[in-house]
Amino acid sequence: MSDAFAGGSDRRDRLKRVALYAVLVAMAGFYLIPIETGLMTAITSPETYTGQTPFLPPLEPLVSGTGSFSLAPWANAFDGLARGLANSFILVVPATVLSGLLGSMAAYGLTNVEWRGQIAVYVLFIAGIFIPYQAVLVPLTQFWYNVVPLQAAFGPLAAAVPLVQEYHWKLVALIVTHTAYGIPICTLLFRAHYKKLSDEMIEAARLDGASVSTIYRRIVLPLSVPMFAVVFIYQFTQIWNDLLFALTIVQFGDASVVTQELVGIGVSQSGTNFPLRMAAALLAALPTLVVYVLFGDKFAKGVTA
């Protein structure tokens, strides 16, 4: 009898387990299917695309109606996005590094060096994370277009230095803006890390004769390497994915970044070219997807801090 009882409870447990995995897999499907559909459509040749089974791989002539395989949408998407991709990289690398570095410095100055009033300064940093970009757009546009003579400075610079174009001034403006807006979150992330560093260790370094800057350079910075990975991944994703600052500071033109280019791609008088549009969306997302797949745990750490 006790055997029968155990068997029943076993079976019920197993059933529960199966149901649990079924739900988990179904949810995984929910999160993946838009991306999967996009990917399958993106490798279909536009001429044979029917739109009847967008989620199936293009298997014509094996399965009719699925369209035939082609990488042409990717090639076209790359052509369409090349300039945007290049501009995005020019933007994202310095902005990520600068905001990370400045955030680390701010966190060090506000955490590991004790002085009164640092909480007040820190609150201003933290509040900066949550301020909607809209609240600063008009002044920033005014500032970069009418107050700073950045454009005038870039004319002669572009003539003198190879690879520098006049329109790059807009990217510089965008780099500075993104750096300023990235500092608060970077400071938060680094501060959480620095609070865990042993106070006694910092004090030991002070007694060893190290100055505030030496402690940063020789103790804190080497111990921040794992946090830099988290912060860089987070900032890279944020800046790469942003549209609003680019739209208002760079505006459409030579200096457009990839998110701007993506908005209009794949639409023409004759209707929407879905394979091209999906290829473009995936191509624009590729850098962040690669970073995410390679360093997913670090990304998760960044967003939860």
Partner: protein, 321 residues
């Protein structure tokens, strides 16, 4: 040996009192927090203040703003509508987009948190391939709003979209989501939930992992069923996580501009999906009503302030800053 070496190279003890002012920790740490603080002060807070001043002008993009005559006309227009002095056209008040903003924010935040909590509890049940599931659930968050919009525009498409293919397979006619005034805000919210519920999941999962396993075991020993255990013992301990996830998610909702711009291919999502974030940018950058755009931005800023100020204050009170 030690003695002689040390005496020869010693650096200590000279003119130390002279430097006492420079030795103040706030001063010595200034090179570190100073430059980033300056950037933030200028570009964030400076700009917020400047925006506040601009909202009191009549600036419409011609020449430079006239700071001589400041008034609250734009706020009156924003709340009651009418024809402002700087325009020949009637300007709509912001109530419609404010209402959409609040509805979107509430629906999006509530569903995200609920779904995130359920997923977190499921993932926390000691499952296999936990990392894989977690990675998949959080994957959409690594995408740009612009990319998400493109995917969902495709999913919602009446002819070739997967959702409509499914609906038609069930024998119903195609449904227009994206341009349908009745459904479009829901369609936007659904896509945003797809993108951010994984975030709520991660936050809750971290909080669940922070609860000592003795709490789970104690409830089990007391004979509580799984559902009761979570409802009575575990979920009440997730308040901090809920608050911080809520703050971040509502702020995401305030920023949903990128998504709508990409979904509707421009500044015009139409009245039933118009939120303050799009209205502000449209007024300033499409209609050239710069000062009026600034006014809407102030409203958005105040809304954000109402969310973050209590949050930061409570963090401060609990000594977590």
């Amino acid at each position: 040996m030690l003695e002689t070496l040390k005496d020869r190279y010693s650096r200590t003890g000279e003119e130390s009192t002279v430097r006492s002012l420079l030795d103040r920790e706030s001063v010595r740490s200034a090179p570190f927090w100073g430059p980033p603080f300056l950037l933030v002060a200028l570009f964030v807070y400076g700009a917020v203040v400047w925006n506040g001043v601009l909202s009191l002008t009549d600036f419409t993009g011609i020449g430079s703003p006239d700071y001589g005559t400041l008034d609250f006309e734009n706020y009156v227009v924003a709340f009651t509508g009418g024809t402002p002095t700087w325009s020949d056209l009637t300007v709509d008040p912001i109530w419609n987009s404010a209402q959409n903003t609040v509805v979107l924010m509430i629906v999006f935040a509530a569903v995200c948190l609920a779904l995130g909590l359920v997923l977190a509890i499921l993932v926390d049940r000691g499952i296999r391939f936990e990392n894989t599931f977690r990675t998949i659930y959080l994957l959409p968050m690594s995408l740009s709003f612009v990319v998400t919009a493109k995917f969902w525009l495709y999913m919602y498409n009446p002819q070739t979209g997967l959702i409509n293919i499914g609906i038609q397979a069930l024998g119903f006619g195609p449904v227009e989501f994206v341009q349908n005034p009745e459904l479009k805000l829901g369609a936007v919210a659904f896509a945003l939930i797809w993108q951010f519920s994984g975030y709520a999941m991660i936050v809750y999962l971290a909080a669940l992992r922070g609860i000592p396993s003795s709490h789970f075991e104690a409830a089990r020993v007391d004979g509580a069923s799984t559902v009761r255990m979570y409802r009575r013992v575990i979920v009440p301990q997730l308040r901090t996580a809920t608050v911080s996830a809520l703050v971040v998610i509502t702020v995401f909702a305030l920023k949903a501009f990128d998504f709508l711009f990409s979904m509707y291919g421009g500044y015009q999502p139409g009245p039933s999906a118009d939120i303050l974030a799009t209205r502000m940018v449209r007024e300033a950058y499409a209609n050239q009503n710069w000062a009026y755009g600034s006014t809407i931005a102030v409203v958005l800023f105040v809304m954000a302030l109402f969310i973050i100020a209590p949050y930061i204050y409570s963090q401060y009170r609990r000594g977590e800053l």
